[in-house]
């Protein structure tokens, strides 16, 4: 069960990518992939991060683990009494923190080195974190493979000998081998077939309970997120537009975007036909997002607003704030939530 203890505190995080133009490759503009995200993550919870492609969910995950550099904000990692700002670490601290936060990548076919056996891929982090003898490393990796429902002997096989589901298990074992506290699952089950997807989801749940992990679960599949997450954050164009307990978010979505997103998902249940809200147009270009609330050009609610209200949506960017004042916070970034 999630505790009230904060493990990660993200404060106004910004990750921009420069767009270079012309002969001199001067920076012409920035893609604001993550544009001011505030997020708290509690020890032992699963936080689902959802949104359409290009909304910045993967960049946020990669910024947390420092695979891409952020340009502003803070990421505070709490460990006992100590607090580290992940954006200002000394090299020793960085090595320490890397061990605590690990990532499972989306594509099990490209995230393993084809020239290395499983043992070869998994032993490097162990070496780095002080497991000196080969026999010890073999034992640890064997145990891990058994933990992800594979056979110990399979550590001497190469990635091409495994199926997609098995490769993803190896990816999970690799993330676990240095005993992390937080595991970021970036579309970890999206590339898998449905029957295999269920196996991996169940495995992730079991491992989480056995090891007391905290997950940040990034995906575009809202049914999977609902199944696995305690809290869910919905992103749109680099910002979090809604953040709430999973149940509250799915039962009573308050942001018009979340509503449209939920209604757009085909449900595998004949008794429940959703009233689909079909959004017009595409996600705007993140180089030049719309003024004010970035969702207003597609917002179904915007059309029914009065003129001064429209002006507010177009001019003023809404802040993520608690809309319900209930016991469990339900944060939404909309001037006129439902």
């Amino acid at each position: 069960m999630p505790s009230q203890e904060k493990i990660l505190h993200i404060n106004g995080l910004k990750t921009y990518f420069p767009v270079r133009k012309g002969l001199l490759r001067t920076v012409a503009a920035h893609v604001k992939a993550v544009d001011g995200v505030d997020l708290e993550i509690y020890r032992g919870e699963t936080l689902g991060l959802v949104g359409e492609s290009g909304c910045g969910k993967t960049t946020l995950g990669k910024s947390i683990i420092q695979l891409v550099g952020a340009v502003g904000g803070q990421i505070l990692y709490h460990e006992g009494e100590q607090t580290f700002d992940l954006l200002n670490l000394s090299p020793e601290e960085f090595k320490h923190i890397r061990q605590k936060i690990q990532i499972v990548f989306q594509d099990p076919h490209s995230s393993l080195n084809p020239a290395f056996t499983v043992f070869g891929s998994l032993q490097d982090p162990l070496k780095l974190y002080g497991v000196k003898t080969k026999a010890e490393r073999r034992k640890i990796i064997g145990d891990l493979l058994e933990a992800v429902n594979m056979r110990r002997e399979q550590m001497d096989n190469y990635p091409h000998e495994f199926s997609g589901g098995q490769r993803q298990r190896i990816g999970i074992a690799r993330a676990l081998c240095v005993n992390p506290e937080i595991v970021i699952c970036d579309e970890a089950v999206s590339a898998l077939d449905v029957s295999i997807q269920a196996q991996v989801l169940q495995l992730l749940q079991e491992i989480k309970e056995a090891r007391g992990l905290t997950y940040i679960f990034i995906t575009h599949d809202l049914s999977v997120v609902e199944y696995i997450s305690d809290r869910v954050a919905v992103m749109y164009l680099g910002k979090i537009v809604e953040l709430a307990e999973s149940e509250a978010l799915y039962r009573t979505p308050r942001h018009p975007y979340t509503q449209a997103l939920l209604s757009a998902i085909p449900i595998a249940d004949l008794d429940r036909k959703s009233d689909r809200i079909v959004l017009e147009g595409d996600v705007p270009n993140p180089v030049s997002p719309p003024s004010g609330c970035a969702f207003h050009p597609r917002c179904p609610k915007f059309k029914s607003l009065s003129e001064p209200e429209k002006q507010r949506c177009m001019g003023e960017s809404p802040q993520l704030s608690d809309a319900t004042q209930l016991t469990q916070p339900h944060l939404v970034s909309c001037h006129y939530p439902n």
């Binding site: 029957s195 575009h220 609902e226 085909p266 595998a268």
Partner: protein, 335 residues
């Protein structure tokens, strides 16, 4: 349903693919019918043969593959045409492909030619199949794009594919497929590469076109949610066989094949929350070159018995519902 509503019947189709001196029985006895104005959803996991079914119908199979036996009959207005007997790129097949049977491919990023303008790609089929002047062709492309809901169609018709977003490219693909008002539209995972909000737009569009032109749609997908929303009929495929087929109600409410049942239990359903139980299917799909002897699902099947060592006959559950399983009654009563 009367027989004259049928536009396509596939009977006991076997398509084999030859790679490295080995033979993959990609389709091993597939039979189904497609009706005018109805949607048939073909579901299954990767490698089950759903795309090969589509390319068998359009004769767009890879080079080293062959329709070994069985028949594909297209019930056209001019009489029945045996597609499987036509030469792959012969004049009869080319007259059908694009004009009466057309296809939407999975990935709009790679299916469009990057060096031709959108408009000329849309009108290419029309130019081949009808006698129109260039001005008429351009006008038709503009009209089609407008029907697909692309703003400023007059200008966008001269754009190149890279200037279109993913959703717009898929619309252009649909415009291309619909340009000759086909009788059968085959959509091979048309929205897998797209986001859910865009997916909803595309499905709305396909449904509207189906109703307006009474087109038969074969929709290939792996998403049970899509099936529940769009299908009239469902065919579930596993390892080159249709293991179960029937109307949506038949298949989703009363699954009669253990694979369908297991598949439905293994997916999280939106709105059921964290409490829902999902049960994964054990094991993984077998290697197509080392297939199980009898029923293909037997090694993973909870109902398997001695009898499953022989390949099952198709069991008729009702007039519209068939399953390829010895134990279909047990599965039915279980669910």
């Amino acid at each position: 349903m009367s027989a004259d509503q049928k536009v396509l019947s596939v009977k006991d189709l076997k398509t084999y693919i030859y790679v490295n001196n080995r033979c993959n029985k990609a389709l091993d006895g597939v039979s189904f019918d497609v009706y005018r104005g109805k949607t048939l959803c073909v579901v299954g996991e990767s490698g089950c043969g759903k795309s090969i079914t589509a390319s068998s119908i359009t004769q767009l199979l890879p080079k080293l593959s062959r329709i070994e036996s069985g028949e594909i009959v297209y019930h056209s207005e001019r009489g029945n045409i045996r597609i499987d007997q036509l030469e792959r790129n012969g004049p009869e097949m080319r007259a059908l492909r694009g004009a009466e049977i057309s296809m939407i491919f999975q990935d709009p990023m790679t299916a469009l030619n990057p060096v031709y303008r959108i408009g000329s790609q849309i009108s290419e089929g029309l130019q081949y199949h009808s006698k129109n002047t260039l001005a008429q062709l351009k006008q038709t492309s503009i009209d089609l794009l407008r029907q697909m809901g692309i703003p400023l169609a007059e200008q966008r018709v001269d754009d190149y594919p890279h200037q279109f977003s993913g959703g717009m490219r898929q619309r252009a693909m649909i415009a291309m497929a619909m340009s000759c008002k086909p009788k059968i539209l085959i959509a091979d995972e048309p929205t897998t590469a797209l986001d859910v909000t865009i997916q909803a737009q595309i499905f709305e569009l396909i449904d509207e076109l189906k109703q307006r032109h009474n087109t038969a749609v074969i929709l290939i997908t792996h998403d049970m949610g899509v099936v529940a929303e769009l299908a009239d009929h469902v065919a579930v495929m596993y390892m080159g066989n249709i293991v179960e087929q029937g109307t949506v109600d038949d298949v989703l409410r009363h699954p009669a094949h253990p694979y369908t049942e297991a598949l439905l239990k293994s997916i999280p359903i939106l709105g059921k929350g964290k409490q829902q139980q999902i049960t994964p299917i054990q094991g993984s799909t077998p290697d197509p070159y080392q297939r199980p002897k009898g029923c293909q699902f037997e090694p993973r099947c909870p109902y398997a018995t001695e009898r499953c060592q022989t390949f099952p006959d198709s069991q008729s559950i009702s007039a519209t519902h068939d399953a390829l399983c010895w134990h279909s009654e047990k599965v039915l009563s279980h669910a």
